[in-house]
Symmetry: C2
Subunit: 305 residues, 2 copies
């Protein structure tokens, strides 16, 4: 299987603690790295996890709270010292782009790469990145300040050729690609060999949604409907449900409900309040709503499969 891996660099909330770093994830899609949020200390976590600066060209910021972006100046400065070239695109709300640009124009003016700011508008739903194998979309979350999530969708993969059948029907090499893409094979004599006789199904395409920070909102479930693996914030346990709503956050149980409603296969919970010395209660409450829950932790790598 081609690599599609979620790296958890930080899954705490608000302030770094002895247990957790502020928000940061890196999606490794076939060795291209995509960072989502960049709390203070992200660059250190990035290196501790053995990730390569030269493979990081896109950074997606969900919203303009410090614990989701105060690691950016340091990360970009260190990338400059590592002689990263080309460009790094920061996808961020307008005011965040302005503030980052102010700092980077001063502190990082000699960087050997260009910093491009892709301005996300509040409430926007659109494709923010696309290449041959991957599409990344943004969509609104519901926090106490504008906040957007991101969905990573692997594009449909090629079907597998059946070697014996391909040989038997003497399919020329020049046709292989279109047959892997699903075309039938028309023989020189006009006979049509249906694609299903020549191929077996492609591997399934995976998808991943990042939902932090947000209160529970069924519009989120609708936006991430059908995504395989969902990361959803789970700042609090049941006993703090009203505080969660006040502060624009979710409980672990609510994260479980969103995953169920969205028809996900797997849920990753994170953005834990610093009050918890163990996430056991959060895992328990989320698991009462949804069967397959992973508790995020710094250094954790999750393969989508």
């Amino acid at each position: 299987m081609a690599k599609f891996q979620i790296n958890i660099l930080g899954c705490g909330s608000a302030t770094p603690t002895a247990r957790h770093q502020p928000s940061c994830q890196v999606v490794d899609f076939r060795d291209k790295l995509f960072m989502i949020d960049c709390g203070e200390g992200a660059q250190g976590q990035f290196r501790r996890m053995g990730l390569k600066f030269s493979r990081l060209n896109h950074i997606f910021i969900s919203h303009l709270h410090g614990d989701h972006l105060f690691g950016l100046p340091g990360l970009l400065s260190t990338m400059a010292l590592h002689e990263v070239t080309g460009s790094v695109t920061v996808h961020v709300f307008r005011e965040g782009a302005r503030l980052m640009k102010e700092w980077m124009d001063f502190f990082n003016r000699n960087a050997p790469f260009e910093i491009i700011y892709d301005v996300i508008e509040e409430g926007e739903r659109r494709v923010v990145y696309e290449d041959a194998g991957l599409v990344i979309e943004t969509f609104p979350l519901y926090h106490r300040t504008p906040c957007n999530g991101y969905i990573f969708r692997e594009k449909p993969k090629l079907r597998h050729l059946r070697g014996d059948a391909v040989k038997f029907h003497a399919v020329p090499v020049s046709m292989m690609k279109s047959i892997k893409e699903g075309a039938d094979f028309i023989k020189p004599d006009g006979t049509v060999i249906p694609n299903t006789m020549l191929t077996t199904d492609a591997d399934p395409s995976m998808s991943y949604a990042y939902c932090s920070d947000t209160m529970m909102d069924m519009r989120v479930a609708a936006d991430v409907k059908g995504v395989d693996t969902i990361y959803h914030e789970a700042t609090y346990d049941d006993s703090l449900e009203s505080q969660a709503r006040e502060r624009g956050h979710s409980t672990a149980r609510q994260a479980g409900r969103i995953a169920r409603e969205a028809g996900a296969k797997r849920l990753i919970i994170g953005h834990f309040s610093k009050r918890y010395n163990s996430e056991e209660i959060l895992l328990k409450e989320a698991s009462e709503e949804f069967p397959d829950v992973i508790v995020a932790n710094e250094g954790l790598r999750i393969d989508l499969e």
Copy 2:
């Protein structure tokens, strides 16, 4: 002895490594905390060392390189979450004040304390803080961008009363303070009792100078002349002396020379290049120039005495 303690929060250079954090120190003077430089991750180190946000009201930034101030936004935001009140004064060059204010006006607009910016001018020598027991001065260093150091000077302390003599001469309580300050005692009959008969010497007043980042420059030795304990950057070993000068840094040996020239009692070296897996060579080379060298390390506390 009243507390006068240097806390090393970070003593690396340029980028955080597995061994060292970027520059940050906290001077604890009789339980008031003064931070010097604030590299990324400073807030985490601050808490790991058990320091109290409520006691921190002054932060001194030496220069506008990211590894000396990218921890500020996170630190100030966390202080806001800890409900620190009153004011925090950031002593920093003009452009740094402008950039910090831009960010804090946005990211920290609800902080329960005021952030005051005390603008240091390039090359300036002046008192930047004073209270009943302490004076802090700034003075120029010689880096590849404007850079200033800071000297902490304990004010002269009160002399110790000799209990027996005070009793014998029936010194009234109302006179005690002036006698501790050095006054003679004039008895009701006009007899003068010289202060030296009533007191013994005060404890010595300590001083501390922070010199990072800078190339070796004898003007620094002149500015810190007579200071007891000097922190001087020691980025490189002898073999990289020309690189040190090119980049506006010092070797460990040069740090030793400055300490000797200044007549210091003790030298702390830090700001180590990430190339060193051990600071042994730096200690060796500095020690060949100056007898009492301490190698900085994260978590180290040094009592001035």
